[in-house]
Symmetry: C2
């Protein structure tokens, strides 16, 4: 096989939610050899990781790694802090929700950069959106630009070999409903994804993440295949 025909590798941050699953299919559709990366960072439940495994498997990724790191140990978020309760969603809220995990996307992108450099991948995909981002500042293009710049000043591949790493955020300006429409075309099986902040047999339907998901499926005019039949 000619080297020029070799597929380019991409690292995809895969949480198990619908955004990252869709990002994975975008990378696949663009012809990348996909290496998925998930994190066990002290979440209270592992439904998301189950979903990530299932999604990666169905998409036929080249590799899927789960990185353990206990950044949940200092709390600060209701997703990881056993002393904080996950609150119900509040439509239209403008403050930072308690589910915010300090600097989470920065940590994930840093680890993705380390992995990318090790396997000689120069593309990282992340499924964040600035449109309905729940007040998480690390989902903004401005942050991604700053992070990409840090990566390209802190890796040997970029500094010494001129091989810069690109952060792709294909949905940064997309509404979740548009994302779903795209994902359906690309073959994402949303029944494999998990969005609920709470663990359990089925999604709670009341947390911020469940509310955003439900709204997006309604707007996209698609029945959410991740919901149990009534």
């Amino acid at each position: 096989m000619d080297i020029s025909e070799k597929k380019r590798k991409a690292v995809v941050l895969l949480s198990g939610g619908l955004d990252s699953a869709t990002a994975l299919y975008v990378a696949k559709n663009e012809g990348f050899e996909v290496h998925a990366l998930s994190f066990e960072y002290g979440q209270k439940h592992d439904r998301e990781l189950q979903a990530a495994r299932q999604t990666a498997k169905k998409a036929g990724v080249k590799s899927h790694r789960i990185v353990s790191m206990d950044i949940g140990q200092w709390g600060g978020s209701s997703l990881t802090d056993r002393n904080m309760e996950i609150e119900n969603g509040i439509p239209g809220r403008e403050d930072i929700p308690l589910t915010y995990v300090p600097a989470r996307n920065m940590v994930f992108l840093s680890v993705a950069a380390s992995f990318a450099e090790a396997i000689e991948a120069y593309d990282i995909f992340i499924g964040v959106s600035e449109v309905d981002y729940s007040g998480y500042v690390d989902c903004r293009q401005k942050f991604l630009d700053a992070m990409e710049n840090a990566i390209n000043n802190g890796t040997v591949c970029a500094v010494e070999q001129g091989k810069k790493i690109t952060i792709h955020a294909p949905f940064i300006n997309m509404k979740k409903s548009e994302e779903i429409t795209l994902g359906m075309k690309l073959g994402v099986d949303y029944s494999d994804t998990w969005s609920c902040y709470r663990g359990g047999e089925k999604p709670c339907g009341e947390c911020d993440s469940c509310l955003l998901r439900a709204e997006a499926f309604i707007e996209a005019g698609v029945k959410d295949p991740g919901l149990p039949p009534r």
Copy 2:
């Protein structure tokens, strides 16, 4: 106690080597309440972490946490990859040594930012130097500036509350020997620190890190208290 008298908190990245131990004492000397952060990232030996514990204890830090994260799982460095041997030091070398861990300081600084935000610290100390940095690109001021910018675009404290985080690298323009001279004044006990890339009963004296340390102590005109008596 008046709130204005309360000590400011600093997060200090503490590897257990001599640079980070000295950085810890600089932070302490500047009046910060010190919260030390160490990492178990798949190193082949834990001598460094023992050293970190000892140093933190002796310095009387407010807290010391060890964060586990298996970024060593994808290899790429002789410090973490069981299939790679740690080579002897080559004085005057200019290429990137095999001990380079992809994007390590970026990952550490990201986690430090997450921790800092959670405990409301706005200062992070890291003991890197651009002068004798063994070819690690993530020890350069240019990288630290880029990383500080990423942190201040990716944390709620900085973006929403105007509380920016500062990365302090007090030795960035210092030779290791000058650092040792400073550390001796500040009371660092270098016998507690561990620099050798190889684990073992005593430092090997032959790896890159042992060579740099030996040279620095000679230049500083101080006997290295970390070496076993002959």
